[in-house]
């Protein structure tokens, strides 16, 4: 699936590096749940300089941790411990906030994130090796809001897509070597004199961020000054 947001706005012209694959050609094995990673680099005039799609390799442990918390219905009174993106163990309970990655623009704490670490992924990775911060300073990228493609299915597969733009206004090229997905986990706060969560309003949640996917791009993705990187994670299951 291509990034539809550019359609009709710019003439899309591929003159640079392009993978022969698009996400529909990246085939997961029957029965597999996985993600297809697609990235596109656009010049300042909107033309496409690079587009690549590949099978994402690396759900990491926290994905299973959060899935288990939800599938078990872990309550606040005996929460599960999960490692957050700072490396700290956090108490997490089943919650409608778990897996939230709908970050708005300028927020680099969660959602799709990118970095410059090139170390091979391991199952215990709890964060990107070296995340690129939001901004226009040296080595920084401007994080757009996270957008979603709604679930669809065909005769053999079902999927939905998580998308984010990263614009380079730093004045110099930046090379991205790692891409990940950070999501929220809900940490209950209990008080001895109350039968409620202390953080008992929508405006007062106590959440931390957890890395569920980390992919390393061996050759790197070069984003020149003025260019924009668009990352699509298409989460998919195949019959």
């Amino acid at each position: 699936m291509s990034d539809k947001r550019a359609t009709g706005r710019h003439r899309i012209e591929a003159r640079g590096v392009a993978s022969p694959l698009n996400p529909d050609h990246v085939v997961l094995e029957p029965g597999e749940i996985g993600a297809v990673l697609e990235w596109t680099v656009r010049r300042a005039d909107g033309t496409v300089r690079e587009r690549v799609a590949k099978k994402a390799e690396s759900y990491v442990r926290q994905f299973l941790d959060l899935l288990l918390v939800q599938m078990t219905g872990v309550p606040e009174v005996c929460p599960a411990q999960i490692t957050d993106t700072s490396g700290a163990l956090r108490d997490v309970a089943a919650s409608s906030l778990n897996f939230d990655c709908a970050a708005v623009a300028n927020i680099d704490a969660y959602g799709v994130v990118v970095g410059i670490g090139a170390g091979a992924p391991t199952i215990g990775d709890y964060a990107l090796q070296s995340k690129i911060a939001h901004g226009v300073g040296a080595g920084q990228l401007q994080y757009g809001g996270v957008a979603f493609g709604m679930p669809t299915s065909n005769l053999s597969a079902s999927h939905f897509t998580v998308t984010r733009d990263f614009a380079n206004g730093s004045g110099n090229p930046i090379v991205v070597y790692e891409i990940g997905l950070y999501v929220k986990g809900d940490m209950p706060v209990l008080l001895s004199n109350s039968q409620n969560r202390a953080n008992d309003s929508a405006s007062n949640p106590t959440v931390q961020y957890f890395c569920t996917i980390r992919d390393v791009i061996g050759t790197g993705i070069t984003i020149l000054n003025g260019e924009t990187l668009t990352v699509n994670y298409r989460q998919e299951c195949v019959v």
């Binding site: 759900y59 442990r61 899935l67 288990l68 599938m71 606040e76 079902s158």
Partner: protein, 397 residues
């Protein structure tokens, strides 16, 4: 992520007599739906519409009350762990406005309760090919010990207390709550006519105990009202459905009928003397669809039912991680005490979710099928034998 499905058949002596192992082939669109709803934080103003295990539409989101006592953000979407059989599972959340209404938190409404058998690993007897949009097992084997009823016979009924008339100018009938699973093939209502009403239409449709909802008609048919009697002793008129409708334990449906010309009359039980009529009548699963406490609906339900197997608890546990792999297990035991063989050809996973938040109401309990697999060749579980089914989701970097 790949998932290993392991099935062991264990005889009366505790010996494993058959083992099957295969990779799961068939996670469905509804797993993606629940993950999407969580990732994108879908709110009640624009919820997702999804099929649940009744075959009907439901709307789902992550929204809870904005604040208040008992506010836990704990809509348990993706819940797979459950106790066995008829044990209750709380699926949903109820607002508690003040400390005085604590009771709502600890004594939740019927709409948020589901039987454990409908959550977690399921088995069935159909070998129909799987598709990404399968919303339930094609032929689910229910919890219990009963032998099958292969030919249509009475499955449930509320026959006593014929006291009052109900004109069918508007839809009228029963919010019926099955206590066991069966395939409904026909419905009888006690009817008569006052003129020439023409066709009377019946509907079997999904419903909830409370809150706003999206309904789905599961079956509809008509019967000629002109051939009804014009007075006592009336007629138990049979409406034969075009195909069987699988009713699930504890999951309410509305069964009602209508004839717009005001010439068709339904007989019902109506009692105001003691307050709650259908409680007095000892038929609480046959309450009226209009919510009146004074009416219970006279109804005779016919259908078939499959041989039953006992559902144990569904356990989710055992997360281990050793680079490059992490995994956990989802397990359930099924015990055949039905007196005969049970042939298993499919299995799957049902995940509970509460449907749309509305006002102070955080959704009725429901479940979606997130995985369905065909088991081939057939697996025959003899009387007294145990089937142990384990799903092991596994990720590898």
């Amino acid at each position: 992520m790949k998932t290993l499905l392991a099935i062991n058949r264990i005889d009366r002596g505790g010996r494993v007599v058959e083992t099957r192992k295969q990779h799961v082939r068939s996670f469905t669109q509804y797993l993606m739906e629940l993950l999407y709803i969580a990732h994108a934080q879908i709110q009640s103003a624009a919820p997702r519409t999804i099929y649940d295990i009744t075959g009907g539409y439901r709307t789902a989101d992550v929204q809870s009350p904005a604040s208040g006592y008992g506010y836990r953000r704990n809509k348990p979407s993706l819940l797979v762990a459950s106790p066995g059989g008829k044990s209750q599972v709380l699926v949903g959340e109820v607002t508690q406005y003040s400390s005085a209404s604590t009771i709502f938190t600890f004594d939740p409404g019927l709409s948020t309760l589901m039987p454990g058998e409908l959550i977690g690993i399921q088995i069935g007897s159909s070998s129909a090919a799987v598709t990404p949009t399968d919303n339930r097992l094609a032929s689910r084997i229910p919890h219990g010990r009963s032998a099958p009823v292969p030919a249509a016979a009475r499955q449930d009924a509320n026959l006593a207390g014929d006291t009052s008339d109900q004109n069918l100018t508007s839809w009228y009938g029963c919010l019926y709550v099955p206590k066991k699973q069966f395939d409904l093939t026909s419905v009888k209502f006690l009817l008569y006519r006052t003129g020439s009403p023409g066709n009377i239409t019946i509907e079997v449709k999904t419903c909830r105990f409370a809150g706003g909802t999206t309904f789905t008609v599961l079956a509809t048919t008509t019967s000629n009202g002109n051939t009804l009697p014009t007075g006592a002793p009336y007629e138990w008129r049979e409406f034969v459905l075009p195909g069987p409708v699988t009713l699930l334990p504890g999951v309410p449906v509305t069964i009602w009928c209508q004839q717009a010309a005001a010439n068709a009359i339904m007989r019902k039980y109506y009692n105001t003397s003691g307050g709650y009529g259908y409680f007095l009548n000892k038929q609480p699963r046959f309450g009226s669809a209009d919510g009146s406490s004074y009416n219970s609906i006279l109804m005779d339900l016919y259908g078939t039912s499959p041989r039953e197997i006992e559902y144990g608890a569904c356990d989710v546990s055992g997360l281990t991680a050793a680079n490059p792999t992490a995994q956990f297990d989802i397990r359930r035991l099924f015990t055949n005490r039905s007196g005969g063989d049970i042939t298993v050809r499919e299995c799957g996973l049902y995940a509970a979710f509460p449907d749309t938040y509305s006002g102070s109401f955080c959704g009725s309990g429901g479940a979606v099928c997130i995985c369905r697999d065909v088991i081939s060749p057939d697996l025959v579980v003899g009387d007294g034998e145990v089937l142990a089914v384990t799903y092991t989701p596994q990720i590898t970097v």
